[in-house]
Amino acid sequence: MKDFLRRFARNKAAIGGVVILLVVIALALLAPVLYPDSPWDMVAEPFLVPGADRAHPLGSDMMGRDLAAGIFHGARVSLVIGIVATLVALAVGVTIGAIAGYYGGWVDNALMRVTELFQTIPAFIFAIVLVSIFQPSVTSIVLAIGTVSWPPVARLTRSEFLTLRSREFVQACITIGMGDLRIIVLHVLPNALAPIIVTGSLMVATAILTEAGLAFLGLGDPNVMSWGTIIGAGRDVLRTAAYVTAIPGIAILLTVLALNLVGEGLNDALNPKLKNR
């Protein structure tokens, strides 16, 4: 663990990513403190350019809603949806991949065919379909993103399990008389976790992007304001007030960049042997 932290800390880009992420998390945590009112409230005159009014540093949109409040509250929505959707995808993907890789044979074949079936449908289109069927809400968006993003996790977990299950320590577990569940959860999974964590951190970024895309298309939860919602609203005034789109866009860009940097850093720190590629 200490080695891991030291290797991670040596990676400047990854530390940069962590700093940006901490800022985003701080935005999310401070939102109810700094902007206790709803970000949907019209609190200023419309089209307030950023910097024009001290009370609204990021300006306002065409409805006079404070963009800074939107960014703070949007950070909560984007982060929560990104993380929860990733956890859903990991839960499904790891379970299916673990069972397929551990048991092999026809179980593996059947589960992998199902996985491929999910992979043949373009992820974003599939997410749009799912959200529009189940009505846009935070829950349906989380489940839709989870549904479209578990297959790569399943495949990754399966390949890790395939190599690990033939290792002698797994055979040793069998000779002891251990049950499959204990072998899978306690002995194989911890050894397969490193690449899964790396993939998970990158999946949070993808999930945030997907949510933004859905909100942009008007498929966001109408009750919460995410960064994608603001971009979607700003689309109509792109020529006259580009900052309405640009500000949440930059927020998404930085968050996704930060998650990718952290993911890369985790990858290098967890697989020190591959570092000098």
């Binding site: 290792r167 002698e168 002891i176 049950g179 911890p190």
Partner: protein
């Protein structure tokens, strides 16, 4: 001889592959008495490791019977097998792959006790400490992870794990092959000490004849999925009868140059034939120096040529 702790009878393990049926183990019968060490030797690929793993019930045998302490275990399900597991344990070949890198040594040794519901947490801790002491590990070692140990020490951990459930028979699958020559003797001596102290029986699988000769009471020689000769150690060493055993013996280096000079070399030609398509009749005939055409017609059974000395060859006679 008292009733055997492990009795294999016509045991077979075939693997279907794309190229055909691999007959890795093809009808092996052998008994191991309590407290006895049986050495199993043969070239790589002859099926000796598969025999060990099948006897251990890591796979379900294709045919034949495995009787552990008089009870048939060859067709038991995994859950029905669990109580029997404690009598039969295994030491693996590769001490780098046989320990879970994420678990501390103490936890690795405790796992078998937890799975079998042995004792309270405190009793298990005592047992783990006793095990560590038994194989010569310091108590501090229990807090560490496997990667902090050398190969020889890791193999000690593997041995301690095999002993956790107080087995009567331990199958040692090439336990020293992956170790440096300098620590092999230590590990072998440890195994011998444990056998004496705990009354263990071993099935000792190795391709190294000199190691097997050192540890075994009896030696079985395997060729292409079948046993070709079984005898007690001294007999096999001084009077090997099967031409394959003779060839193996001839390949063991002799320390004394004078003896080495007057030794008649028996050379084996070619490689082990594929177990996908073993030769008809006697499987060894394609490389045998004394083969005659009749050898292709009939598979020679293991027959007793002297008390306790079994040979599967129609061309040699007893004393």
């Amino acid at each position: 001889m008292s009733s055997p702790i492990l009795s294999l009878s016509e045991l077979a393990m075939h693997f279907p592959t794309r190229a055909g049926l691999v007959r890795a183990v093809d009808g092996v019968s052998i008994d191991i008495a309590p407290g006895e060490t049986v050495g199993l030797v043969g070239e790589s690929g002859c099926g000796k490791s598969t025999l060990g793993k099948t006897a251990m019930r890591l796979t379900r045998p294709t045919a034949g019977s495995i009787r552990l302490d008089g009870h048939e275990i060859s067709d038991l399900s995994r859950s029905a097998l669990r109580p029997w597991r404690s009598k039969l344990q295994m030491v693996f070949q590769d001490p780098y792959a046989s320990l879970n890198p994420r678990l501390t040594v103490g936890r690795t040794l405790e796992e078998p006790l937890i799975v079998h519901g042995r004792g309270t947490a405190a009793e298990r801790r005592d047992r783990v400490r006793w095990l560590a002491d038994k194989v010569g590990l310091r108590p501090e070692a229990l807090q560490r992870h496997p990667h902090e140990f050398s190969g020889g020490q890791r193999q000690r951990i593997g041995i301690a794990r095999a002993l956790a459930l107080e087995p009567k028979l331990v199958i040692c699958d090439e336990p020293v092959s992956a170790l440096d020559v300098s620590v092999r003797a230590q590990v072998i001596n440890l195994l011998m000490d444990l056998k004496r102290d705990l009354g263990l029986a071993y099935l000792f699988i190795s391709h190294d004849l000199s190691v097997v000769e050192h540890v075994s009471d009896r030696i079985a020689v395997m060729y292409l999925g079948k046993l070709v000769e079984i005898a007690d150690r001294r007999t096999l060493w001084t009077r090997p009868l099967h031409p394959y055993t003779q060839a193996l013996m001839a390949a063991v280096p002799v320390a004394d140059p004078a003896k080495a000079a007057d030794r008649r070399p028996v050379l084996l030609e070619g490689d082990l034939p594929s177990p996908l398509d073993p030769p008809s009749g006697c499987r060894f005939r394609t490389r045998c120096p004394i083969a005659v055409p009749q050898c292709a017609e009939r598979e020679p059974p293991l027959r007793p040529l002297a008390p306790g000395h079994f040979v599967a060859c129609d061309r040699v006679a007893g004393t």
